[in-house]
């Protein structure tokens, strides 16, 4: 068996060991045993993914007996290998972190056993080679993650509600994927992906559209794309932090995997007329990116902010995927390959920095008991390592050089910018709008992460809990350090992963191989003009910093540095209440975008008993609701409730009536079948 297959098998074995350890071992060593075994599983998955991306020829395994009726079959190609590597890498960081985090009351048997199962399911999804296998692994992933999300439901009431939202939305998405894939498989001799690929050329455009649309709904819901994103900012804050990291960095990327696999690979043979699909994907991506980061910019719950940021990043990935599809449909393979490479690289980069950010947020939550940025601050003093790591993650997430997201967003902008010449009117309209959306997202991301880092970690503590924060234990720091090392490596040496990304792009059938040539120092685009060297940029910055510091030492050395109190206009000591909070920091943005965000304002004035001219108390409440939820979900939920209540009238309690329903519906069905066959 190939290296990829062996490594994946090893990963499954390690996950099984971890589950057994969770169930069997005593409480003292449970977290450590589970964490270590899951980390090994993740590492093996990472090796399997890298081997799959590197090696030619797909590794395949078939286990017909495992599932009744269809059996399971796994096959690894470079596209699946990329996502396998992403999941594996994130699992390593999250598992190591979880060893230290579990002391938070999370070392019950069920919770500890679910995590390795979750990792195993996520590792199997990109390897699935038949529809049945894929759906089983997808559902297993959803169920185990649900168990993990509600892990702390005894402690907080909101956890149960978040769990309900997550369960409902992930299963509705599952139904959509099920419908789409089964319609597709219905036209093929069996449900293997190879057969689906072969039969795609004979599908009518309508059927192709239905398949793509249904699977898009399901996969976009998993990826947190607007308007199906509502579960993400609810579930991620309530889940334990290492689970949030795994969900946000690894699980949502599998939604993107699904779209790429079905849209480019399986439906690739469909002749013509698919441009509207990819424009739809691009549109959804652009809307999600802007909406997600706008919500992140005005929220003060740190993990909710990071959840909305995941929506934003997945939106950017879908912009790249949609652009790739649009270019491929127009026959421009070079650009299609470039756009898809940018999207896949962003998936990898996002996994690295989002896991770092969530793990650091968990560290803060554990130390202070609060996720609210308005109560944090001053963490630099008590938690210097977490502060530095979060700062690195914030730089990586805000698309500024020398950060991680800058590289993939540069590639994305290059692919969009080069798409304009000699193309149709549709592209001429969508590309500038897409560039504008990406740019607005980048600007708002800068604002969001300056807020998150500056308000949450710097200056003075805004509450006693934040003032008493102490640094996290070594395992948590090690998990964060692993993610940080990945961020730095991807930021400075993207050329290391670019050949693998190119092979994944080629495996998906979207474009030509190797759209970006990655040298050790710089990246060069193939077929269009463009090159960038992140390493050279970082080196130039370092040299400049050294030069400035040296010049200062020479020039400005007459006086020694004095430590003085803050300038408070002479009036008195500055208290923490005088600091800017996250709410006040985001106020200008809220005002500028108030048409989109529509904040709700509640002012309650309690007058004095004696006179209406005297005020005793004023209560001011402002919240920014999720407008998509308000406008879209409430009517849908109201309609569902109306439908349910209308259906109640059918359930009168009379057994005769129920028997009549059964008899008449079977009779009608038999008549219909007799007539139509």
């Amino acid at each position: 068996m190939s290296l990829a297959g062996t490594a994946l098998g090893l990963a499954m074995a390690a996950a099984a060991v971890a589950t057994l350890a969770a169930v069997g071992s005593p409480a003292r060593v449970r977290a450590a045993a589970v964490g270590a075994s899951t980390a090994i599983a993740g590492a093996a998955g990472l090796v399997a993914g890298v081997a799959a991306m590197a090696g030619g020829g797909a590794a395949a395994v078939e286990l017909p007996g495992l599932l009744p009726l269809s059996g399971v079959a796994f096959a690894l190609d470079p596209l699946g290998g990329l996502f396998l590597a992403v999941v594996g890498g994130v699992a390593v960081a999250a598992a190591v972190y979880g060893i230290g985090y579990a002391g938070h009351g999370l070392d019950g048997r069920a919770v500890q056993a679910s995590f390795p199962l979750f990792v195993a399911a996520m590792l199997l999804v990109p390897a699935a080679a038949t529809v049945g296998t894929f759906l089983v692994c997808w559902e297993l992933m959803a169920l185990t993650s649900l168990l993990l999300v509600v892990a702390e439901h005894r402690r907080r009431a909101e956890v149960a509600q978040a769990g309900v939202w997550y369960a409902v939305m992930s299963h509705l998405g599952f139904v959509a994927i099920l419908v789409g894939l089964l319609v597709f498989a219905g036209h093929a001799p069996d449900d293997a992906f190879g057969s689906l690929r072969a039969v795609a050329g004979q599908l009518s455009p309508a059927v192709g559209g239905v398949v793509f649309g249904a699977t898009l709904v399901g996969f976009a819901a998993k990826a947190g794309i607007v308007p199906l994103h509502a579960w993400l900012p609810r579930a991620h804050p309530e889940a334990p932090s290492h689970v949030s990291a795994a969900m946000s960095a690894a699980m949502v990327s599998l939604g993107v995997y699904g779209i790429v696999r079905v849209g480019f690979d399986l439906l690739g043979g469909l002749p013509g007329g698919q441009r509207w699909w990819w424009l739809l994907v691009m549109g959804l991506g652009a809307v999600s990116a802007v909406y997600g980061i706008l919500q992140a910019a005005v929220h003060t719950d740190l993990k909710r902010l990071l959840g909305y940021s995941t929506t934003e990043n997945m939106g950017l990935v879908l912009v790249g995927v949609g652009a790739a599809g649009t270019f491929a449909a127009a026959g421009r393979d070079v650009l299609a390959g470039l756009a898809l490479a940018a999207a896949l690289l962003h998936v990898i980069n996002h996994a690295a920095f989002k896991s770092l950010l969530f793990l650091a947020a968990g560290s803060v939550l554990r130390a202070t008991g609060s996720r609210d940025l308005d109560e944090l601050g001053g963490l630099r003093a008590g938690m210097p390592a977490t502060t530095a790591l979060f700062g690195l993650g914030a730089l990586a997430a805000s698309a500024l050089p020398p950060g991680t997201a800058f590289v993939s967003e540069w590639l994305l902008v290059q692919s969009l910018v080069h798409g304009l010449p000699a193309s149709g009117v549709a592209t001429a309209v969508t590309m500038p709008v897409a560039v504008a959306a990406v740019a607005l997202t980048a600007g708002l991301a800068v604002a969001t992460f300056v807020k998150a880092f500056g308000v949450g970690f710097l200056a003075k503590a805004r509450s006693p809990a934040a003032a008493k924060a102490r640094e996290s234990p070594a395992t948590m720091l090690a998990g964060m350090g692993a993610a940080a090392a990945a961020c730095v490596a991807l930021a400075l040496f993207p050329g290391v992963v670019l050949p693998s990304v190119g092979r994944a792009v080629a495996a998906s059938g979207a474009g030509s191989a190797d759209p970006v040539v990655g040298g050790a120092v710089s990246m060069r685009l193939v077929g269009v003009a463009g090159s960038l060297s992140p390493l050279l940029l970082a080196t130039a910055l370092l040299v400049a910093v050294v030069g400035v510091v040296a010049t200062l030492r020479l020039v400005a050395n007459r006086y020694a540095r004095r430590v003085a109190p803050l300038w408070d206009c002479g009036a008195g000591p500055l208290t923490a209440r005088m600091e800017y909070t996250a709410t006040s920091f985001a106020e200008p943005l809220l005002r500028v975008f108030d048409d989109v965000l529509q904040p709700e304002l509640d002012v309650d004035v309690t007058h004095h008993r004696e006179s209406r001219y005297l005020v005793e108390a004023v209560e001011y409440r402002r919240r920014v609701p999720d407008r998509v939820e308000r406008r879209l979900y409430r009517p849908v939920l109201a309609a569902a409730r109306w439908w349910g209540e209308a259906g109640r009238r059918l359930a009168t309690g009379s057994v005769h009536r129920y028997l009549g329903y059964g008899f008449y519906s079977v009779t009608a069905l038999l008549i219909v079948l007799a007539v139509t066959r």
Partner: protein, 315 residues
């Protein structure tokens, strides 16, 4: 990587560092004369910087390394941009970094570290300045990137050397609608990014009207000198970028060292001219209230979008 390229890059940095306070001095002198005053002379910013370098540096209690490092990083990012953009020569040794998107992002990095330093002080004014600054930066990004898009369509690349060489080869392109629309959009974006009127008044003493100044109220001595120098260098670099993109004549594109001398004179002349025009324009403008600035930036964004549309429909 030629000798002329390396020399050109070094000269660029030297000119930007030495000339930025001179540019500010000229701009202040132009304003003074138009307002009927005598003015302090073009050398005054350099006198200010020299004095500040000899003063006592102060670190406020409760701030962290972010506060200490921000002025250094601000100057460093501007130095890298000054070395990279082809002000004097297109054969820069840092050509892999001379990408328009990367340059704009580097300048944004400088703004971000200053905003973090403002938040680090924990004062209300520091937070206020940081909040306003990142709002303006967030709204300027779409204009900048779409204008870059418009400029790069005909050239086929966002590399600055390629754009300059292409414009030199086809000078008539500069007066096309694409170019003019993009130039106006970029001018508004530059005014917003460098904190000039009507977006921000660099000479105000009223804290509630400050955007950039509010973030630096705690800096003293050499730190303040670095912040002021960086501010002047950013203005020089942005105006130089405008000149390089839309009036690149004089930039040395060959390998000869002698061509650098007229390039230096051309660069200095162009930037001075733009600075004088900006200063004269500021005399006639009042500062916009903060919540009118998004309208101004939205207008510049529409211009940039029109530039892209023109580049597609008018080719």
């Amino acid at each position: 990587m030629t000798a002329a390229g390396v020399l050109g890059a070094v000269l660029q940095v030297a000119i930007v560092v030495a000339g930025a306070p001179l540019l500010i001095g000229v701009m202040r002198q132009v304003r003074a004369r138009l307002e009927g005053r005598a003015g302090a002379g073009v050398g005054q910013p350099w006198r200010d910087l020299r004095k500040l370098a000899g003063k006592e540096p102060i670190t406020p209690r409760g701030t962290s390394e972010v506060f200490r490092a921000a002025p250094v990083l601000l100057v460093a990012t501007t130095l890298v941009v000054a070395a990279v953009v082809p002000f004097l020569t297109t054969r820069s040794p840092l050509d892999p970094v001379a990408d328009l998107v990367a340059v704009v992002a580097l300048l944004t990095l400088g703004t971000v570290v200053l905003a973090l330093a403002g938040l680090d002080t924990g004062t209300a004014f520091g937070g206020m300045g940081a909040s306003r600054e990142v709002t303006i930066v967030a709204l300027v990004e779409p204009t900048l990137l779409v204008a870059i898009f418009a400029l790069s369509v005909r050239v086929g690349s966002t590399n600055l050397g390629a754009i300059v060489t292409s414009t030199l080869r086809d000078p008539g392109r500069v007066i096309s609608p694409v170019s003019l629309l993009a130039a106006v959009a970029l001018l508004v974006a530059i005014v917003a990014e460098t904190g000039r009127l009507p977006v921000d008044n660099p000479a105000t003493h009223l804290e509630l009207t400050m955007v950039h100044e509010a973030m630096v109220l705690e800096y003293a001595g050499p730190d303040l000198a670095m912040v002021e120098l960086a501010s002047a260098m950013r203005l020089t670099v942005f105006l130089g970028l405008l000149a390089t993109l839309f009036a690149p004549w004089g930039i040395a594109s060959g390998a000869g060292v002698l061509a650098l001398l007229p390039a230096v004179l051309a660069f200095a002349g162009k930037v001075l001219l733009l600075g004088v025009a900006l200063a004269a324009g500021e005399v006639f403008l009042a500062k916009l209230r903060l919540f009118r600035v998004p309208e101004l930036l939205a207008g510049s964004f529409v211009l940039a979008l029109l530039a892209v549309a023109a580049s597609f429909f008018l080719t």
